[in-house]
Symmetry: C2
Subunit: 489 residues, 2 copies
């Protein structure tokens, strides 16, 4: 482990020099070179003191020792694709952005064990490219290319959670670097599927947005690449029919169900109107009010198992037509249907300013929630539009509210704050849902963590932070008490 360099003085310049002594010239960025690290992929914008890019766990450890000694806050950053402002620096100009982007040499695949030990800076796409030749993949699927460390810090969910679970479900081990003792490297867990040898401490770093420690490596369970898939876009006969359809699908084809994605007609229309190469898959009919994209997967080819997945899905859907749980189905190849699904966010942004709600409710209540939320918007904010879509099978919904560019009144951040307070209250109080289903907690929604979390749980989270990082130097959020934020209810 490299020694902590001595610091000549207290100036920022001396800090940068000391950091450079750890990570080398290539490892430190200042001034204009920091732009890509100060601005998130979609959200997040701030100013950093400097960006440090260590190339090993030892260098991360030395950086934390230095920053702890000088009381300098550190913001761990992966691919900076987070959606709650937790992966970009704040506006203070005092945070050192610690990019894990150069920590990417390790990627050890054990194909029979179906596990991979991977450096935190490798991206999801890079990992999957390396797994492919082994017939494997890491199937947490989402519309971005995050780093593995960032995925752990956000506990990414995505579109295939119903089949594979979230990152937490597939995380076997973690290497983290702490602020207390400064630079302490902890290796938690193992590549084993069964290992009950005490408290599972790695859980403290999953879904906590970098608070408390820097993730440097992860060991993941990986899965056989599917050899067959089958896709359909269908229109449920009613809200109740949507639940019946899902239940029937799980009973009859649950071994293969990989995605069950709801898309509102408004969301599809925005994408079709504003994203290149999109078309209405129901043409010549109009778009329905709501449709569901179903995807099945099988591990083996039909020629091996005698199991033609698309035939099975078609047969199932025919029976559902007869029952009336579905009333229409779209034409189009799977790739075109998924392109439409992945274009929904871009379509929403074309309509105006997006006030994004990443919520979930019990899946038995998801359509009731949708009706209630739409009714509330219609009554209280008739100038706003909604282009919602969701991961229905896991109760998730991206309830995107659009403030149209041309709307009267014009965009107003106070009104948006009121809207957020109202809608989250509907989600949490009335529908026992979550105000952050899969994006985690960051500066953008920390207010609601304080609103909706039991003070006893906040006190416990604070105690844990005290153990890991007593100076509160690491990450964008603090899960301890904050009286200023606790008053939003």
């Amino acid at each position: 482990m490299s020694a902590v360099p001595l610091v000549a003085g207290d100036s920022d310049e001396a800090l940068r020099a000391a950091l450079q002594a750890i990570v080398g010239e290539r490892g430190l960025l200042c001034g204009a070179d920091m732009a890509g690290y100060e601005q998130g992929a979609r959200y997040g914008q701030g100013r950093a003191l400097c960006v440090v890019r260590p190339a090993s766990t030892d260098e991360v450890s030395a950086v934390l020792r230095l920053c702890a000694a000088r009381r300098v806050p550190v913001l761990p950053q992966g691919a900076n694709t987070g959606l709650v402002g937790a992966s970009s620096p704040d506006n203070s100009g005092r945070q050192v952005v610690l990019s894990l982007g150069r920590l990417r040499s390790r990627c050890e695949i054990d194909a029979l064990d179906r596990s991979v030990a991977v450096d935190a800076g490798l991206t999801l796409q890079e990992l999957n490219a390396r797994l492919e030749s082994h017939g494997l993949w890491f199937p947490v699927d989402l519309g971005a290319n995050p780093s593995i460390g960032g995925m752990v810090a956000a506990n990414t969910g995505g579109t295939r959670l119903i089949r594979y679970g979230d990152v937490r479900h597939n995380l076997l081990a973690l290497e983290v670097v702490l602020f207390d003792p400064p630079g302490q490297v902890l290796r938690l867990g193992s590549a084993l599927r069964k290992d009950n040898t005490g408290p599972d401490l790695k859980q403290l770093f999953v879904g906590t947005s970098g608070a408390g420690g820097v993730i440097t490596q992860a060991t993941l369970e990986v899965h056989p690449l599917p050899r067959q898939s089958a896709t359909a876009l269908v229109v449920p006969g009613s809200d109740a029919a949507l639940g019946e359809l899902l239940q029937a699908l799980e009973l009859e084809l649950g071994d293969h169900l990989a995605a069950f994605e709801g898309m509102s007609g408004a969301a599809m229309a925005a994408a079709i109107d504003h994203v290149p190469n999109m078309r209405n898959p129901f043409a010549p009919e109009a778009l329905p009010e709501f449709a569901v994209l179903i995807e099945l997967e099988a591990g083996a080819l039909a020629s091996v198992t005698g199991l033609p997945l698309q035939d099975m899905l078609d047969r199932f859907l025919e029976a559902q037509f007869e029952r009336g749980t579905i009333v229409n189905a779209a034409l189009g190849h799977a790739s075109a249907l998924w392109q439409l699904r992945h274009a929904l966010s871009e379509g929403a942004r074309a309509l105006g300013r997006v006030v994004a709600f990443d919520v979930s409710v019990p899946r038995s209540r998801i359509m009731a929630f949708r009706r209630a939320a739409l009714a509330m918007l219609e009554a209280e904010h008739p100038h706003l539009r909604v282009t919602d879509f969701g991961h229905i099978a896991d109760g998730g919904m991206h309830f995107n509210v659009i403030w149209p560019h041309e709307a009267v009144p014009a965009y107003d951040s106070e009104a948006v704050q009121d809207l957020r307070d109202r809608l989250y209250a509907l989600v949490v109080d009335d529908f026992k849902g979550s105000f952050s289903a899969e994006h985690g907690i960051g500066p953008y929604n920390l207010r609601y963590y304080h609103c909706y979390t039991d003070p006893a749980a906040i006190a416990l989270a604070d105690g844990i932070r005290e153990l890991l990082d007593p100076l509160r130097l690491c990450g964008a959020v603090d899960f301890g008490p904050d009286p200023a934020l606790a008053a939003c209810r």
Copy 2:
């Protein structure tokens, strides 16, 4: 919430009176009535001060407040089926056994959500009986009938982990009662599949043997009952062939693989010789050295999907015969094969004193570990026998060493200690395995927690315990530092 009764004096009698004031006459057991709570189902034997059986979370809370005020240690107990001594009192006669057996009224099933909120004292069999009419089950499958709270505290794994995961994978929410503040009730998590709203604090109580808090309720994800299964008992052509067989099975039938259980010939022989109604499934041939029980499951009937699972398995096995990965297959119905599997422990106990090793290694190395362990035993303890079996697909192995009744030298606890030290060193140091795959940590294996856990992780676990239970009153084990136990390497 009921008030803490005042305590008349410091005597045990006053304590019992105060406890009885909380839980009523039926809720307190003394003297001979405690026998069933002082003696574990298979392991564990001690003496309790008394047994208190609260009937609600409020009563649990009041009991903890009373015990905290009087500094009385509390041992939470479910069905007392644990295998590491963590569910029975120690020999001090000073612990209050807090049985959750009366906390069993809540069992709220949401069939469409596939979730159930259940009191901690309900047993696995009772839960599954209630789920059955909804076409659902909680598929963590093991050879005992534990309480739900005990399953969470042990993070039970069992025979179907490859398909469903362990308890942690299926745990959505938890209600726990803490010692600090005394009697504090925490509700952690939700019934939601996606809910990333801060640190997942319920994880602190999973697999920690009751240390730090009393689990009073759990919300679990449940699964559709399989409508079809297919079973086979096969003999792999070699150690390497076993891995090839597993890999081929995952690639071709992985959507259905539910169990892949290894059984040594010695383990099968002991069961056949000593457990009623068992027969050699390979008759008239002799038992093989090692065989694998494969089980597939499908969610739907063959008549619905056109997918006859047993045919698929038979076709797969024929191809494996041709490849040479399997060289024999047993006859017999699935129920007879599983009865044999579940009789292995009883068979082992008939041969002598069992020194049980609940270990795991990366599954790519499980047969290499088995060879090395057998060779070590043969060389160093030729008077001992081994009747091993294991959950091969998740790297788990119950490496049961038998000290035969008739062996010379006779059973010797010091020699057993040496044997345990040697074998766990082989598992952990040489094979990167776990010394407790699925039974958790209790007084019986706490020594190895201290041997093999990073002191920094022990310090962190200790800090967490300090937050939850600063007086260290709850549970059978302490995960903090213990210099007396740290010297076994």
